[in-house]
């Protein structure tokens, strides 16, 4: 089963193609008639294949493909152009902008399905695509960094992953991984955005024994200035160019760099606690975060042994679906202190299982 996005302002085409790709192809299909919404969804890089109409109000299909090809997360995603035009010049135009196949309308949905499956096969099937997972909470002390570090290690077991510690106040990712960073993103402060290149980033990266790459936070609090939104985006994009998966441990504050990272991410893992102040923070965070990111996964962590709430109880209070509940685990804090992450220290623990569940969620 592949994740497929169809962008076409013709509702008949959307309905017909969706029906066949879902029923006959067993694919997970998302459709939109709004070209700008389609571009926004596609840029996240969630999809294994895109089907795009050419002529749409606001934004043409050609323009969408151009922008997707410039985006690291979608640079290689298979794209089918659906067009009422079939002349060699039209095919050439589709080819020049980077589409993989040009299909003329009206389209027979069953033959389209064959072309979709063929193209997916040529591209290695519904494979692991680029993901940027931002882990965030406006409330400190609820295990945000623990979740980010362990999630990054779990993802590394599936595909090369980079963990970015964006904390301006001495991040702890390196400590939790038992690493002594040879560089950090603080060295980019005050530098032009254009200096953030793959080569430059390589000098700031530290490797973990698992293969996970860390871009550490500065070892001292950042007193003057901070990463700009543009620098933050560039840092993430450059990391994504090296590894298909990027996990960002965001600071517990909505700075410009944090907001840029949230916008740039494909998934925002919003971490909340189960105590009353935690829930209050979560309730007030969600509307603001929804204006920055549509793909929010609310995860409730239990960093203390206090009696947990059920998922239903939390959902009733926060009025938002809870993607996962992470149980309390006594040695989680100790694992951090020893520089041995939880998934290595207690691989069979319920907390590790909960983290594995989140990893599956973000990948599928």
């Amino acid at each position: 089963m592949a994740k497929i996005l169809i962008i076409d302002d013709n509702p008949d085409i959307l309905a017909m193609v969706r029906l066949v790709l879902e029923r006959k192809g067993h694919h997970d299909v998302t459709v939109t008639a709004d070209s700008q919404e389609g571009l926004r969804l596609a840029l996240k890089g969630h999809y294994d294949l895109l089907i795009i109409d050419v002529m749409m109000p606001q934004l043409s299909g050609y323009e969408i493909v151009r922008r997707l090809r410039k985006n690291h997360a979608t640079a290689n995603t298979p794209i089918i152009i659906l067009s009422a035009r079939w002349q060699p010049v039209d095919r050439q135009a589709s080819e020049e902008i980077g589409a993989d196949l040009h299909l003329g309308k009206p389209v027979n949905a069953l033959e389209l399905l064959q072309e979709v499956n063929l193209l997916l096969k040529q591209h290695g099937g519904p494979t692991q695509k680029h993901r940027i997972i931002a882990v965030f909470s406006l409330r400190g002390g609820i295990g945000k960094t623990t979740v980010a570090v362990n999630l990054a290690l779990l993802l590394q077991q599936i595909a090369p992953t980079t963990l970015i510690d964006l904390s301006p106040n001495v991040g702890h990712c390196a400590t939790m991984l038992g690493l002594h960073p040879r560089g950090d993103w603080g060295l980019l402060l005050g530098q032009p955005t254009t200096t953030i290149t793959t080569q430059r980033l390589a000098t700031l990266m530290t490797s973990h024994a698992s293969g996970l790459t860390l871009i550490a936070a500065p070892p001292h609090p950042v007193q003057e200035g901070e990463l700009s939104g543009e620098q933050s985006e560039r840092l993430i994009a450059t990391a994504l160019a090296r590894t298909p998966l990027v996990v960002i441990d965001l600071p517990a504050q909505l700075s410009i760099a944090t907001m840029a990272a949230i916008r740039r991410s494909s998934h925002l893992l919003l971490l909340g606690g189960h105590q009353r102040p935690d829930l209050q923070t979560t309730i007030h965070s969600i509307p603001l975060l929804e204006s920055l990111q549509s793909n929010i996964m609310l995860v409730i962590n239990h960093p203390t042994p206090a009696p947990p709430l059920t998922k239903e109880q939390v959902e009733k209070v926060v009025r938002y679906p809870v993607a996962a509940m992470l149980p309390y685990h006594a040695s989680a804090a100790m694992a951090c202190l020893h520089g041995k992450p939880l998934i290595e220290e207690a691989p069979a623990s319920p907390l590790t299982k909960g983290l594995k569940y989140i990893a599956r969620l973000v990948l599928h």
Binding site: A84, W86, H102, G104, P106
Partner: protein, 175 residues
Amino acid sequence: MVVKRIQPSLITAEFFIGSYRISGSFSVHTRSLGDALYDSTTSYLTLADAYISPIGAPTKITARQRDAVIVKSAISFALTMTKEDALRRDQRYGSYSGPKFKPIYLTLPFFELEGLIRLPGRLDPIVLLSSRTEAYLTLIDVTARLSLQPEITYHGEAALVNKRLVSMMGVQPHA
């Protein structure tokens, strides 16, 4: 890169009208485009999802109309992806395959066309352009070249050409 078109009861065709290229879907549920165009009792064709471009910038879409009506007499020529889309009912059986087709060259406003035309044995080519005969010519394996930008070409398995707008014609009966 492969280009394919998959055809149910709607076809897409290219209509060249003055300096415009109009691509649109035409319903062939009851009759072919050829039958509709040759039908002298109607003066227009209705299209769905019509894309409009200048002929000199064929991929630049300047407008799109969900429903469009085009005036038949203004069409210089129409190109279809398959031969069957263009042939009239009476042209479909036997006579439009085989050795009777002769190379033809035509000039039209902005375009020159090359293709094949069915030419019965003793027919004088001049008769083809007679105003007393039908208003269109049916060509197959057609390449249309923009006169002032010959690098821009359009292709179709068939073309329906408006005889009234043909300014020059050359047929090679023995080619």
